[in-house]
Symmetry: C2
Subunit: 482 residues, 2 copies
């Protein structure tokens, strides 16, 4: 009986699925002539019962063999071994292709991408890691489920350029109030978080070979994307007022200027109002666009919040970039750009052609999360948590090292920088790694020769007791090296 022939060939402990095993067994029996042309196979329900497998397992195996020409007939009307077997050679046994001897032509840009190490996720004191244990995932899931229950067919098609209208409106309103960004919903373009926004800016606002200025030290992720977009990345140094291009620099003006004015990454400097006005003025005169990356502007603990550069831009020079990766969670993969009015529609259309947008259900859920106050509540809560951790980090560091290593940039976000003598930070970072502590050197964020040494210390996802314990341990490593 067929089920016995098959049973003997099914091994529940094997790595292959039962469906695959059943498919293989049936094909083998057909090819070996043990199942004859025209022979009727048992109904899927019957065979499943005999074999003790799910009915879908049998249906899938039958369907696959039918599709390949080994079986004929339709499910429901009966299934038969085909009268003539397929004359194509049977599928080769799975084998790995011989490794290509050809050098992989990852382009120049991609080679650059491969050479820079990714920032490690998690662990004390990796920067830019939010504390997700405090995120209200229950609330998020409730809103997501609600959005799915309300779904209409067209919400599961491609999205219109720019993203879901409700989300664009919610973001515009939030930015107007919280960040003094001047915008209409039509200027907001939803992206798969900031990295894609940078990629789009590089590709849609600049031509290959044009210059982009980046802060030095600065955010490596942006530099990687700009290089991948074939732009010439020019490092510009910083002073206490922010990015500080010289008169010489301005003689070769850039197409794009990438800045983090509210909380310079990684140093934490706030760009002064005078520097902001100067930058805007020069950008307008030299036909440059400014990309304002407000990556953690939600989390300012002390003093007044800093109005966005975009909000004081009269010349439509600024592209404002924000993400929900820090304030919500990185895996969400949603962020936004605010484009100057005159180019927003064309930009959204071109971006859509490169990526095809969708995910309207998630976007509707996120709009509700913002409008119903959950976003605001979570940001307020995390601002307190991160503020507390920042103060604790400063206290531990000051207690252990005093003036030997001042901790700067502690009034916003989820990281600070412990200043060190120049040229010592890489070795200290390695010594810390040997103790299991992530403490990235300032040098690793620099393109040009570093002017200062330092350690970039993320405390966002580090609980208080670990800040005390590991902060003290790291301080010992530093003290030993100084």
């Amino acid at each position: 009986m067929l089920s016995e022939l098959l049973s003997a060939r099914l091994d529940r402990a094997a790595a292959a699925t039962l469906r695959r095993q059943l498919y293989d067994a049936l094909r083998e029996l057909i090819l070996a002539g043990r199942l004859k042309a025209g022979q009727r196979l048992p109904a899927s329900r019957e065979l499943a019962g005999d074999l003790g497998v799910a009915r879908n397992t049998v249906i899938d195996a039958y369907a696959q063999l039918t599709a390949e020409g080994y079986l004929a007939g339709r499910i429901g009307a009966g299934t038969f071994v085909a009268e003539t077997l397929p004359d194509l050679p049977p599928a080769p046994a799975p084998k790995l292709p011989a490794p290509s001897r050809r050098k992989l032509r990852l382009s120049q840009r991609a080679e650059a991408v491969l050479l820079e190490p990714a920032i490690e996720q998690g662990g004390a004191f990796a920067p830019c890691v939010p504390d997700l244990t405090l995120f209200p995932f229950g609330e998020w899931q409730r809103l997501l489920s609600r959005a799915w229950r309300r779904v209409r067919t067209r919400d599961t098609h491609y999205a219109e350029p720019g993203g879901h209208p409700e989300l664009r409106a919610a973001i515009a309103e939030y930015l107007q109030i919280a960040r003094q960004v001047n915008c209409t919903p039509q200027q907001v373009v939803i992206v798969n978080a900031a990295q894609q926004g940078l990629d789009l800016a590089a590709r849609l606002l600049a031509d290959a070979g044009e210059r982009v200025w980046v802060e030095d030290p600065g955010y490596p992720g942006a530099r990687r994307v700009f290089r991948a977009g074939n732009l010439e990345v020019v490092p510009i140094g910083l002073d206490e007022e922010g990015i500080a291009p010289s008169a010489e620099d301005w003689r070769a003006p850039p197409r794009l200027i990438y800045v983090t004015p509210s909380h310079q990454f990684p140093l934490g400097t706030v760009m002064s109002l005078a520097r902001r006005r100067e930058l805007l003025d020069r950008a307008a005169r030299h036909d440059s666009f400014i990309i304002e990356d407000d990556y953690d502007g939600e989390f300012r603990f002390t003093g007044r919040p800093i109005a966005s550069l975009q909000g004081i831009d009269d010349a439509s020079r600024v592209i404002y970039l924000g993400t929900f990766s820090k304030a919500l969670f990185p895996g969400l993969r949603l962020g936004y750009m605010v484009l100057p009015e005159a180019i927003a529609e064309r930009f959204a259309y071109a971006a859509g052609q490169l990526n095809f947008e969708g995910r309207q259900v998630e976007q509707a859920a996120l709009a509700a999360f913002i409008r119903e106050g959950h976003f605001g509540s979570h940001v307020r809560r995390m601002r307190m948590v991160y503020g507390e951790r920042s103060r604790l980090m400063a206290e531990v560091w000051q207690h252990a090292l005093g003036d030997a290593s001042p901790l700067v940039g502690t009034d916003t976000g989820m990281h600070a920088v412990a200043m060190l003598p120049r040229g010592r930070d890489r070795a200290i970072s390695e010594a810390a790694a040997a103790e299991g502590i992530i403490a990235q050197s300032l040098a690793s964020f620099c393109l040009a020769r570093p002017r200062q040494g330092g350690l970039v210390l993320g405390y966002g996802a580090v609980h208080e007791k670990d800040i005390r314990r590991l902060g003290a341990k790291l301080a010992q490593v530093v003290a030993r090296s100084l």
Copy 2:
């Protein structure tokens, strides 16, 4: 009393939200001196009750004013008008930036992007539109909810390069059985659907200025992305065996060859085995990569399924590309690439650096959707539905036009092509549009001078009665024009 002062300023019919109105009203009262420095404000719950607004509205307005320095104190401990008001100029009244006079520097590639019209969504007979009314969204939502209930914090962080291991494994297993693709899970890289896959292939496997061959007629979306990646797009004509490069063409061999061998888009030709072997052989000799876009290979109605090009490639030349946009729904934004083993890991890593991946919860839900048989069931069901619609379309067309316009490519997928005399199809397409029917001309899919005329007719999302009614109406338009 404060609540009366505020009440008078809140207008529920206004466009601005109550939160924004409350914020504006409080700030105005403070700036006007009607709320004095040090004055205590009512608790949020109390004021919300007096005003008849949600408590979050008050909390948000208080928080924003506190953050800006107009109020002081902490929620819970009481809120007071600040002793010294912020000395920054108050936020400018929302205004639109003056339109930029500078010509938007959308790059050459982006200009090309902007010039090609997007394929319209929906409506008879737009191509490539699946019938989403038959998708089991209830089942999908159940699996998504289950994945969210099981979520661990790390699932909401960035994903590892290549995507969720369970999804990569489920796809590898499916492709081995259903499409005879030779691969391990490590060769599968999850992408935001096929468009991003093409973009990554263009940017990571080729250098700017290198050639990519595309089928002509062919898929406009691929050409757009290749141009945006600064590649030189070279149209190659087709014969009845598929893409047909001449000896002359091979004298300038391409870096990439983009083909749709299982169901040429849009003509529906199946590439012959001889042509497949020739293409693989030549690609290996000339150091080219072949991108095999298997955009609707799941939906073959008649005959044996066509094994993938990847499955008979011994030289690691083929990058196989698949999407869930047709078999599931476009808004999902998930697809996959299968890379040659030797480059898969580096490709996944470089792709991750350009995009940062996440969405592990959705990916886990999709893995379950595949493993638990729902994907297979849905594909089988839709194969029958599309097969029925294809037969009906052919019947309606044959009945109305006979040999005057043969319908070809009806054995797979969700569109067919009605052949017409060369040079007549654009005018007929316009006449159809005037009647409210989408019937894209074959000419609109061509880069070089078209060799044939035709109409590309999508029937996937067109219900049977509309195929009869609108098919007959379109046939009349054609008959009148011939």
